[in-house]
Amino acid sequence: MTQNNRLSGGQIDRDTTLNFRFDNRSFTAHPGDTLASALLANDVRLIGRSFKYHRPRGLLTAGSEEPNGIVELRTGARKEPNTRATTIEMFDGLEASSQNRWPSLKFDALGVNDLFSNFLSAGFYYKTFMWPAAFWEKVYEPIIRRAAGLGSLSAEADPDEYDKGFRHCDLLIIGAGPSGLMAALTAGRAGADVILADEDFQFGGRLNSETFSLGEQNASDWATQAVAELSTMPNVRLMPRTTVIGAFDHGIYGAVERTGDHLPTLPAGKPRQILWRIYTKKALLCAGATERPIVFENNDRPGIMMASALRTYANRFAVTTAPRVAIFTNNDDGHRTAADLHAKGVHICAVIDVREDAPVNYDYEVLSGARVIDTKGRLGLTFVEVALPDGSTRTLDCGALGVSGGWNPNVHLTCHQRGRPVWNEALAAFVPGSNLPVGLSVAGAANGQMSTHGALQSGAEGAVAALDLKGVLPDLPEAEDAPIAQKPFWYVEGCKRAWVDQQNDVTVKDVKLSYQEGFKSVEHLKRYTTLGMATDQGKTSNITGLAIMAEVAGKSIPETGTTIFRPPYTPVPIGAFAGRMKGQEFHPTRLTPSHHWAKERGAVFVEAGNWLRAQWFPLPGETHWRESVDREVRQTRASVGVCDCTTLGKIDVQGTDAAEFLNRVYANAFAKLAVGKTRYGLMLREDGMVMDDGTAARLAEDHFVVTTTTANAVGVYRHMEFVRQCLFPDMDVQLISTTESWAQYAVAGPNSRKLLQKIVDPEFDISNEAFPFMACSNITVCGGLRARLFRISFSGELAFEIAVPARYGDALMRRLMAEGEEFDVVPYGTEALGVMRIEKGHAAGNELNGTTTALNLGMGKMVSKKKDSIGSVLSEREALVEPDVLRLVGIKPVSPDEKITPGGHLMNIAGPVDAANDQGYATSAAYSPILNSSIGLALLKDGANRMGEKMRLVSPLTDLTVEVEIVSAHFVDPEGERLRA
């Protein structure tokens, strides 16, 4: 198809032709085009359907404020719904399709809604669909949901990558129009670190859309030259295709750079977009202004556009929407559009100006004091009906109507910290208020300087003021400095089906109805009618809606209220905020020193926080995980097993006050712990609940090594720093984490000593006498490698933990396996670890759930009352020491073949099963291959006094009821003889 709406000139590369498809029809375009300009060039006016009434819609604007011209871009996994045709930079092979229509754009079945529009008035759904009650989910809502929504997502995962980055600058300039370019030149020449960002792929802003000149040059040439100068400055970073989306606290701005959206395909490893956090000393908002419509009957037909958009398409893209064009305006800027189009050979049917004293132009007809009262053309504008001052009407035959209602400064970012814009009577528009984000100032049209000269000057002044630059302003090129000449005019009296918010189908009638129903605040208006809630965020509709409500209320606009804007300035792909932190990279993965060895052994791994830990080590022939775990438990208890426990937090605590410090952070006493000994430590939160537990080994008078649970390592370290720095700042204590330094392995089982004796260097005696239970020492292994040995046991067996520098962890594990062959040594994972700790009745994560006290866990006596320790006072509160508080007990099914379900609740053997009779709950469970029975730990009311009692463990969720016996939590070796052996 030929581009028969192309005009001469423009900033497109006519030497190159690009092919693209829209709704499966092929077209051609040129570099420099947007999808919107290319469609218009090819005489395509109908692009989409509206949200509610499915009215045929075309383009309204030429920028990111576009409400109507939204399409699904690309295909397959890369499909992007709701993409503005006006911001899509043309590339070869581009594919787009219209959305929210069925079966086709021209014949949309739901267009029928338009006929019933009278019944679908604002908020109608709040008043109906209530009977019968059951019908909402079943009937009404599914229909509404199917009809609602706009484009559709691909069902596939997004194949593209996104990056995040961080940049710093003295001055961030947002917008590269006349004010932004002038500000950048001023600040850049002064040597400041400047970032100049603009959402467009071509810097220049409105200058690219105008024909007037700056100094000797025409506007766009001046912009090109300014960019050329800026690009030679090392202290200036130019960021085209970059939208500054939000102004956050303390001068941090979010910006999204579209590095790949204009490319047919992304080069390998390159991101589609980059989310930048820009740290600024100062920022200057040069975001320009957005032209606003005048609202009239049937003002939403394809071909009815903003006048400035027609001008942009003609001057920048060399395109006219139609050969015959009319203009409807309340200000002189509308006439500029008419003049430019006329100069390009477009036929101007007439300029309809609401002002009686409209400027006359002898090249085409001007209808002063006239209004547009209706339009015709189902799929595209054909006729415009005009009411003349004398009461007569005229029908104009035209394919496009340019509407100009004046300009609204783009104040959005000034509102991002809840600042409110203020009404400017002269402009009849909101301008930035006084409460801007700290460090942000505003220049150019965004600040109400509507002339090009005003923009250039305020841009230069803005840079000078922001950076406190000495010296005079740079010379400014001569530029138009036309005063504002407009008569505020929001909508044509008497219109009903006249669209304020075109995408969400909010009409003048809806605004009036919402006021009639008492929704008088702007926020109520928005929420009740959905005005401004569409993907264009109301850029062309909010203020008009407010103005119409003000007229209805008989109040001034500022009396009626303001409307503020929230981030992001334009919608941003969720993926851009996620960056690379997704999939496997969502969180960093922490590997233990024996990971590579365990992988060779075919271990099954499990996430433990960010760690990956071996869960069990299946042998060939083992088909069920229980086989492996049972074997690991049996072999460990029968001979010896090895488990990587490096993930436990390790904190080096040194200093002359180290012992006293531990006395404060642990509930039990540490001051008198002998050097060379280890002690179990119970740590409480200040509210008396158990925070964590672990061991503290005293390597020297002034040196301890403390362990934490894997889950709480970070929190406990933070807590200890808090106690050290904030509570006892004069204690001589130094802390540092050593979790990663040491590969630490538990060697457990009756033969653990024999195995270790084979690798511990002979000068170290680890016999029971020389190295008894809870001993600890620095030693060497394998001929001189420094190591640490602790005789502690989580399994309840004779056990040690041995630590060597992490880089040797892999080798040590292999050595232990080799030396252990004669004992039939077994590596065991977290499952077997869990089984053995339950058999031994050790509380762990499931019991340390943040709501349990030492008393609950059977360690009440450990909380020393002879000293000051965190949490001891509040652990005494009445409800925490009542006789029937939960106590940790063991539970055993009465018939061993039955299974304990963690999370099941305990009920008395007789009586109702309900919340009122809840006695407690099972925290952990496992199958004990030693007892050949399922066993569990539970927290039971007054549990300590209910040993031997039969109860029901109920889990209606999993449809289980098991009769259990309450027993001691210490299933294995209650006297602890084994671990002292």
């Binding site: 949200f51 719904p81 709701n82 709040y126 008043k127 109906t128 669909f129 209530m130 009977w131 909402w136 809502e141 949901r145 199917r146 609602a148 706009l150 484009g151 997502l153 691909s154 069902a155 995962a157 997004d158 593209d160 956050f248 956090r277 109805l513 008492g518 605040s521 926020e523 929420r527 009740y528 929230r566 981030p567 992001p568 919608p571 941003v572 792909p573 969720i574 993926g575 905020f577 996620a578 960056g579 999939g583 496997q584 969502f586 969180h587 996430e607 939160r685 509210d687 609940m689 499931n846 943040g850 709501t851 999370g903 099941g904 099963v913 309900d914 709950y921 109920v954 969720l957 999993t958």
Partner: protein, 416 residues
Amino acid sequence: MRYSGFRVIKEALTGHKGWKPVWRDPEPKAQYDIIVIGGGGHGLATAHYLSKVYGQRNVAVVEKGWIGGGNVGRNTTIVRSNYMLDGNEPFYEFSMKLWEGLEQDLNYNAMMSQRGILNLFHSDAQRDAYTRRGNAMILHGADAELLDADQVRKEHPYLNFDDARFPIMGGLVQRRAGTARHDAVAWGFARSADSHGVDIIQNCEVTGLRIENGKCLGVETSKGFIGANKVGCAVAGNSGRVMGMAGMRLPIESHVLQAFVSEGLKPVLPSVITYGAGHFYISQSDKGGLVFGGDIDGYNTYAQRGNLPVVEDVCEGGVSLMPVISRARLLRMWGGVMDMSMDGSPIIDHTPVEGLYFNGGWCYGGFKATPASGHCFAHLLAKDEPHPVATAYRLDRFKTGRMIDERGAGNQPNLH
């Protein structure tokens, strides 16, 4: 005026001339039996139940701005009763039952949509905790189901089952949970309360509480003093400010919770989903927007806005769980100020000041509680005794050690 489909048709045919304001805009009287401070969801619900259930007609709601402008108008609209502890579950299940009959009770379509909520788990410990929770729900008469990974995949094939850093092991489902149209909830309660004679007074900021000899006599406002026999404070987010006027310090901090909505999309998400390995929960509104959120920013604030790190954190969780939403665009973000309490649970209680009652500490769970909170607060105000399902929400529970701590995070509000 009763709303119905027939009414809508009739009005449509007669040019919608008959629609009346949804609530009057009265000037305050000199004296009321009961004044509720706060024209948000909870305050308006309180007024509705006071007038409709407890027969209190001489009631005013005073609101500093426009009604529904607080958290009821800035949340992620989720309704559920999937709590674990005795102090909570009966209350939230009571609330769920009120939601189920709300449209008919209010004659206003708040679009309560019972599309279900799925809480995913990714570890054995999480599964055990959810099992305990699900059992507690059932024992309290609510509904709960436990799904394994395959069942989750059947219902939600678009979740990340292929390269998840924290694989989905299953989930706890409450089918009766869902979402409601948040603004409509506020408007519906307001309309009903108004129709039962309650004065809803907008743009009337409380500037002080008149307290003499330990008794609260009324409120000083931007529209002058308004007397009352009883004053109930329901201003979650600003509880510290208002109760501060009575010289009270609370077990509460104010924090901001951000929420997000995407551009409108054709239906992709059948229910509400929460991620167990990251800060992310999501649903899809009837208009097609993906409504999602995550963790609070974490620092004390009264500003209704947040910062980028949490936005990124939420989206990282979202894309990790649902790679299909990566190309969907985030359209709007906003912040609501939350009463974060010291155990993550609310307070509905009388205060040491006679005639002054307090409702707050809702953390970020206030929306789902709206009907029950209103009902129970109305009960307390009308009868001077706690409603049976709200007896645990006492102000003194931290002193006695009767915390209701679902998360086990203890006395650090920003962890709840």
